[in-house]
Amino acid sequence: MRCELMGPRLSAWVDGELSGVSGWLVRRHVASCAVCAAEVESLRALNRKLSAINPVLTPLAPTRFVRPPLVLGLGAATALAGITVFVLLPRPSGAPQSDFKRVALASPLPELVRNGGVFLSPASNANPVSVFHSNPSPIFSEPAETVPPRSVIEKRRTRRLVHRVRREERQPEVVRVATARKRVGRVRPLSASRRVAEPVKVALADRSVAGPLESRPERDSFIPPRPAIAPPPAAVAMAPSLRARRESKPEDEAPRRVRAVLVITPTRYENVVLVQPGAMEIDEDDKEREGEPPSP
């Protein structure tokens, strides 16, 4: 990484705002570049200056508890007597020294008297609103790693997985189901020209054979019953060829099978139509399987 691109990254890294790949890249660069290491040092010095002049702003109650004079004097006397007795009591041999006793012995007695027996640590005098949270990474105490940290590798792997799942989702669902089950023939490839010009027809299954739709009565119950179509009046003349075909048909012939055809566009299927077997376009593979019973 070039030094002229590092400016804002160095600033963010000194503030502890970079992690993962970005933080690792900056750490590796700073460990190998003297100019950027000096820049990091100057940024830290500036941070120290800024936090040192952090103005004391205390709009509300004082942070130190102040007692009234009379109570202060009584409290001081009581505390002094109590501490003296407590500290000077003989300690049983082998008993550990308590924290309070250690503090009382370590702290100067006049300070305790002045504060009315309340030990105020030096930290209580510090600026109560000094909230500069700089979290610099220890670059000079540890050598820079030559490989990315473990979290970096995991993050990259996760990103690739997400991308693959998204690519799979682009395929239309019906085509994917038909391809997976291999119920009939093959699904025609969706070429770029046919996606726009002509929808793809996929023959799914014979309705007369027990299919998945017929095994779900609750789904069929939602389909409204078809209105009964009135038979054509006798006066309507039938085409001669059709009449000849009907009359030549033997009576014991099995009822015709009805096939469902899904018309699929690249994004969704638009319609389901019931057609006669003769009227349907069948691929070469389908013609070969015409005599075979359909696979369940």
Binding site: G7, P8, R9, L10, S11, A12, D15, E17, S42, L43, L46, N47, K49, L50, S51, I53, N54, P55, L57, P59, L60, V129, V131, F132, H133
Partner: protein
């Protein structure tokens, strides 16, 4: 009648929620006003204005951000508007100060490091100064500042970096 009662209860609940929010955030808002305006004297007035504006807008708060961020955003807006109003006065002060460049008070102020840093901070543009102060003195993370100022995190990063560069240059020139 029932609707009126429900509305009254809703108003009461809103008022109680706002009072709790204000009690929790009052000190931080005051400090934010004091730091962004660089004068604790006017921070009381600014915090008061923030509370009034926040209460007026509390009914329209949709909860898209956290209430704290929303309140601080109002505080930042109030302080920026106040600084806009103060600009002509500040410019006059600066010209007066520039005419008394070599005065003993000025030299004494410049000799103090704290005064030099404050003076250098005052020379920064408003956007750079706000981002740097929010981070360095209020302890906000970059993400919080981005939510507060409604800018991307990358912009916060570059602003803080630019503010530091200019601050370093100003301090080097002052020495």
């Amino acid at each position: 009648m029932v609707q009126h009662l429900e509305q009254t209860q809703l108003t009461d609940r809103k008022r109680i929620a706002f009072e709790r929010l204000w009690e929790a955030e009052r000190e931080r808002v005051w400090r934010l006003c004091a730091r962004l305006s660089s004068s604790p004297d006017v921070a009381d007035d600014l915090a008061q204005e923030v509370s009034i504006r926040a209460w007026q807008a509390w009914g329209g708060f949709k909860g898209l951000a956290s209430p704290r961020t929303w309140l601080h955003r109002i505080a930042v807006n109030v302080v920026l508007r106040w600084r806009e109003r103060q600009k002509p006065t500040t410019m006059l002060d600066e010209t007066l100060a520039a005419s008394h460049e070599g005065s003993p008070e000025r030299q004494a102020l410049q000799s103090d490091e704290k005064g030099r840093i404050h003076a250098a901070l005052e020379t920064l543009p408003e956007d750079l100064r706000t981002s740097l102060v929010l981070h360095a003195w209020e302890g906000m993370a970059y993400r919080e500042i981005a939510a507060l100022l409604e800018i991307p995190v990358g912009t916060v990063t570059s602003r803080i970096w630019a503010a530091r560069q200019r601050l370093k240059k100003e301090l080097a020139d002052a020495l």
